[in-house]
Amino acid sequence: MANYTLTASSPLAGLQQEYQGVTLAEVTNKALVSISVPLGGETALQTAVTATYGVTLPVTGKSSKTSVDNALFAGMSRDQCWLFFETDNIRPVNIITEKLGASGYYTDQSDSWVMLSLAGEKSRDVLERICPINLDPDVFLIGDVARTSMEHMGSIILRESEHNYLLCSARSSANSFVHAIELSIKNVI
């Protein structure tokens, strides 16, 4: 019988770095579940989301925040919203299912990504070296989200506040991703 215990480890072991004008830290307290919209089920899903989270589903490239579970809905494509939220439940899909029932298709993505917070007034100077998206603060607004490629790695960038960004990239290449950011920091700061 099972006398063994499994311990969880995050891709970057909770990395945290401070530099002049920017901090880089691994985010380990967030679950990520993708919610796909069933064909023709937009209204039903929207109704369920509004009823339980009190927000409307964002369009692609935008996000909406709610205080429920400190959650953020990010519009990733026309039929997909990704939900970032705080939980220590190892089955985050169950939480969504409880709230939204069968109004969407849910896939746990929590372990698929390394999440990093890049914060501080130099963050855009750092990102300029790796991110092809136009991050002009008047163009990429707070709450905007984009999926793109940085240094050949698929990435998600979300603007959380004036100078703070959440960056996600594949868990398996987390070391390469953080290296790309650290190299940018070294080159810029």
């Binding site: 215990t5 969880a8 993708s34 993505q109 372990d111 070296r129 290449s173």
Partner: protein, 990 residues
């Protein structure tokens, strides 16, 4: 100024625009000689200040050469800058910013620069004219590679590489703007002011470190101030605005589709050391609009011996005196065909430099000549003298004039280069005798100022201002109502005059490539009439300067030969880059391990600690085998891993397999279309092997798909095809069957997955699977799958599938537990002597078992070839179904996958061998198929293989030869079943 440096800098006549920078001198070394200059100097201006005339030897003839220009068009003054790992060849002295401790050397000479041993080439010039390569070194043929080419290569040429890895780093980046302004001369600055005042996001790039362009080189006023002062205050204003980014030392080197521009920013080239920061940054600029204000480049006039050090472009001589306070000579003569040349004489004279003569090809003097200058109208310079620098010129009236600098102006060519990068063709404009931008400009680009042929100052300012207004309103801004900066238009009349007949002497057109007027005439005579042919035959316009000072003149000579006008003769268009871009900058940070990302599985660190040998599979690093103490060859390790797995239990990390989460009401129907075999009726809790075809009937990928609920499937793909299969399925979902309710998500990264294989695999798993889940053979038979928990409630997925042919499972847990699960499995498996196995052992077992993999699914193979023809359902539509029925793919003689064993069991098979009948010649006509995968089977104690041979399934027991001409092998083999081990499949069902 300090007295010491004043004495040394014999040609420094004033502070120029260096202002306070002259408080402290900078020391530098050129060809080992110590000199001084000031901050704000270029290497060229500092060399001229120190009276250094001879700075280089020419490409082909090793003729003495001096500084010719004051900008990036420089053909002569190429130097090797810095030392050791930081040495950079072919750097133009005219754009190198002086720093303290700078070291530079001339290149392309042997012995000393002054007494270059290779100058002998100049005496041999009759044999080295245009096309000499093609004529002189033709015979005997064998001599070319061994003798001629090495000699030519070592004697001709530019700088040398250090052959040491570049010690500097480079970076790349992305910039976005509404309006990109290329060049910060008068037009560019006027445009930047207007656009920024209108609220647009403006990016201004200039290759120079001091912005202002000609305003820093001349003495015109703008808006009531000296031109250079207006430039400085304008730059200061622009720098203070949040919507403007000014990038000095930045060359826009290329114009690409849809408003994308390439830029090279020289970050630390002006510093003694880069201090660990990237030396240069290559930017990709996304612009909505772009205004080209790149100015113009002066062109020379060709005449006999016009290449001596001291013969320079007139505007450059003026730049040196006005901007750097340096005169290029003590007695300067001016040779011109236009009004602008006269202003050089005036400016020099104003600084106290003696003007010996002004020679104008025209009849009427446009300005008053400076005091003391002899004026010759309607004349020309017909020759020069002076061994290492000009000493004297001969005029067309026979008069000889002593002079140590001849400033030549043949008019100005607009810098149209970037307008041509997308096939734009320049057009000839008669009044300035030059090419101007054509009509087909890159989308979003306009041109203003001298680059547009607007050569005079007030007009250039006005044009920059007006174009900026127009362009910002194009993208939705209201132009500011401010006016263009006020100035005057200077006189600029020009009369086309290209070259003076030089008789027996050589008149040089392309100084960088040693091309003369005679070379052009010769190539015309030999039939090279098209400009493009001319260029290639004579090498005109090649190398670092790309003919910036020579192309138009050569065209004029060509036009003379043909009796046509210049526009009729043609023009060359320009390609990127505008100025050279170092390979290091193009590579950016993608060097060494940073070339591409590395993907690691969650158990990587554990495997590393075990001393695993890793193999790159795509971007993944996978454990290939795990050597143990005493094992000296990979085969020992791999054989042990296979034997132990087949005997007891082994674990392999298969996390890298592609995993796709498939959900939706129509998920089953969708899979039925994606896979060639039937999937609609796969029961929940079951896994099925699936073969995916391309639409042409060729196998694309294979794997297994598990069903967890009516609407939920999980597919695995091969590691290599994970991305392309996902793309293919999205194509099917969005483009072919948009009415199906199905959603796809990549789950490759989400799960760590391990194969647990071998007769003890179930016993091992039972130690970690929670009690709620029964995995005995009856409850959890072959091809079962389930969502379970392990180790007290951790969610997992269990699949009873086997690649090895043994009783086997694959177990997946959220990636965060992957490392831990592997360690737990190893610990729990101790009692069974569990062994980790790598990709080699995995490969051995699959070959022993006859499973197809990447070697088999090579893009030529159908289901029929794999012996799976009957799997392809004829009762449904699926991708590849129809075209797999094509007759040629279904003859009796198609190749089929079978096994092969050597008749002599000591022989080692090789993959890639082709099958030939015994006694037949090893020829293409007799080719019957090929061996796709081989391994040494520890179980059978011999080399075994699988491969494709015509009609293989009907030929079991037959003997053929496996001929591998590459490795020199010719082995007799017996055709067998592909299932070398456990052909009945009893083990995996046990």
């Amino acid at each position: 100024m300090k007295m010491t440096s004043q004495i040394q800098q014999v040609n420094r006549v004033s502070q120029g625009l260096l202002n306070n920078n002259t408080e402290q001198s900078l020391s530098f070394e050129f060809n080992g000689k110590s000199m001084t200059g000031y901050a704000g100097d270029t290497l060229a201006s500092a060399l001229l200040a120190n009276g250094e005339k001879l700075v280089a030897r020419s490409f082909k003839y090793h003729r003495p050469r001096g500084i010719f220009s004051a900008g990036s068009e420089e053909p002569n003054a190429l130097v090797e800058l810095r030392k050791g790992a930081y040495q950079e060849p072919n750097t133009r002295a005219t754009i190198i910013e002086l720093f303290d401790g700078l070291e530079a050397k001339s290149q392309n000479y042997r012995g000393s620069l002054k007494y270059d041993l290779m100058a002998i080439n100049d005496r041999l010039s009759p044999f080295l004219s245009a096309g000499f390569y093609y004529k002189t070194f033709m015979w005997p043929k064998a001599f070319w590679e061994k003798l001629y080419e090495p000699i030519i290569r070592s004697s001709a040429g530019l700088g040398r590489l250090s052959a040491i890895e570049d010690g500097d780093s480079y970076d790349k980046g992305f910039l976005h703007c509404d309006l990109l302004i290329i060049g910060a001369g008068p037009a560019g600055l006027a445009a930047a002011l207007q656009a920024s005042r209108s609220g647009a996001k403006v990016l201004v790039a200039d290759e120079d470190f001091l912005l202002g362009g000609r305003l820093n080189a001349e003495n015109h006023g703008v808006a009531g101030a000296a031109g250079h002062e207006w430039a400085a205050s304008t730059v200061a204003e622009l720098n203070s605005l949040p919507n403007v980014r000014i990038m000095p030392r930045t060359s826009i080197y290329g114009s690409f589709d849809h408003g994308i521009y390439g830029a090279l920013e020289r970050k630390t080239d002006h510093l003694a050391s880069s201090g660990g920061k990237p030396r240069q940054v290559l930017w990709r600029i996304y612009s909505k609009q772009a205004l080209l204000c790149a100015g113009s480049t002066e062109r020379p006039i060709a005449f006999a011996n016009n290449d001596r050090p001291g013969v320079m472009l007139a505007g450059s001589v003026r730049t040196y005196v006005n901007r750097y306070g340096v005169t290029a000579g003590q007695k300067v003569a001016v040779f011109t065909n236009n009004d602008d040349g006269w202003r050089t004489a005036v400016d020099l004279s104003d600084k106290g430099v003696e003007i010996s003569a002004i020679i104008d090809t025209r009849d009427k003097a446009p300005l008053a000549a400076p005091k003391g200058a002899a004026v010759m109208m309607g004349g020309s310079v017909i020759n020069t003298a002076g061994r290492h620098g000009i000493r004297e010129i001969t005029l067309s009236n026979g008069q000889k004039v002593p002079t140590d600098c001849l400033a030549v102006s043949g008019g100005w060519n607009p810098n149209v280069h970037l307008t041509c990068h997308q096939r734009g063709k320049p057009e000839w404009q008669d009044d300035i005798s030059a090419f101007v931008p054509g009509h087909a400009l890159p989308v979003g680009m306009q041109v203003a100022g001298a680059a547009n042929g607007t050569l005079t100052l007030a007009s250039a300012l006005a044009e920059g201002h007006a174009k900026a207004s127009e362009m910002v309103s194009n993208i939705g801004y209201t132009p500011s109502n401010s006016l263009a900066p006020d100035s005057n238009d200077e006189s600029c009349a020009v009369s086309a005059f290209w070259y003076v007949d030089s008789g027996k002497d050589r008149a040089w057109l392309d100084l960088q490539n040693d091309v003369t007027v005679k070379d052009i005439k010769l190539s015309h005579q030999e039939g090279f009439r098209s400009v493009e042919h001319l260029k290639r035959y004579t090498t005109l316009g090649m190398a670092t300067d790309q003919g910036k000072t020579s192309n138009v003149n050569a065209l004029a000579v060509m036009a003379d030969c043909t009796g046509k006008t210049i526009p009729e003769t043609g023009t060359t268009i320009f390609r990127p880059p505008y100025t050279p871009v170092a390979i290091g900058a193009l590579a950016g940070r993608a060097r060494g391990k940073d070339f591409r990302p590395t993907r690691l599985t969650p158990s990587h660190r554990w495997a590393e600690a075990q001393g695993a040998v890793f193999v790159e599979t795509g971007m993944w690093l996978r454990a290939q085998w795990f050597p143990q103490a005493g094992e000296t060859t990979w085969r020992e390790s791999v054989d042990r891993e296979v034997i132990q797995t087949r005997k007891s239990v082994g674990i392999c990390d298969v996390t890298t397999l592609g995993k796709i989460d498939i959900q939706g009401r129509d998920a089953a129907a969708f899979l039925n279309k994606i896979y060639a075999n039937a999937f609609a009726k796969l029961p929940v809790g079951k896994v099925r092997y699936g073969l995916m075809l391309r639409e042409d009937g060729i196998a694309m990928d294979d794997g297994t798909t598990a069903r967890f609920s009516d609407t939920h499937f999980v597919m695995t793909t091969t590691t290599a095809n994970a991305v392309s299969v996902f793309r293919h399925m999205e194509f099917a979902r969005q483009c072919l069957w948009p009415d199906l309710d199905v959603q796809l998500l990549s789950a490759t990264e989400q799960f760590a997955q391990y194969a647990v294989a071998g007769p003890n695999s179930r016993k091992l798993l039972q130690k970690i699977v929670d009690a709620d889940y029964a995995i005995d053979n009856e409850s959890f038979p072959f091809m079962a799958c389930a969502e379970i928990t392990v180790c007290n409630g951790i969610p997992a997925r269990l699949f009873r599938i086997s690649f090895s042919g043994e009783l086997a499972y694959e177990i997946a847990v959220p990636a965060r537990y992957g490392d831990s699960l592997f360690r737990v499995l190893m610990e729990a498996g101790q009692e069974y002597d569990v062994v980790p196995y790598g990709t080699e052992a995995l490969g051995v077992m699959r070959i022993e078992k006859g499973h197809a993999a990447g070697n088999e699914l090579n893009g030529q193979i159908t289901a029929q070839n794999l012996g799976m023809g009957r799997l392809v359902s004829k009762k449904k539509d699926c991708i590849g179904n129809k075209l797999s029925e094509r007759s040629a793919l279904n003859t009796d003689n198609i190749v089929e996958l079978v096994g092969f064993r050597p008749v002599d069991v000591t022989e080692m098979l090789s993959s890639g061998a082709h099958f030939i009948a015994i006694g037949a010649e090893a020829s293409t006509e007799n080719d019957q198929g090929w061996m796709s995968s081989v391994c040494y089977s520890p179980e059978l104690k011999m080399s075994v293989g699988i491969g494709f041979i015509q009609n293989g399934s009907q030929r079991l027991g037959e003997k053929v030869r496996a001929v591998d001409l590459v490795r020199g092998k010719d082995i007799e083999v017996e055709i067998t079943s592909a299932h070398h081990v456990d052909p009945e499949g009893e083990r995996l069902r046990g």
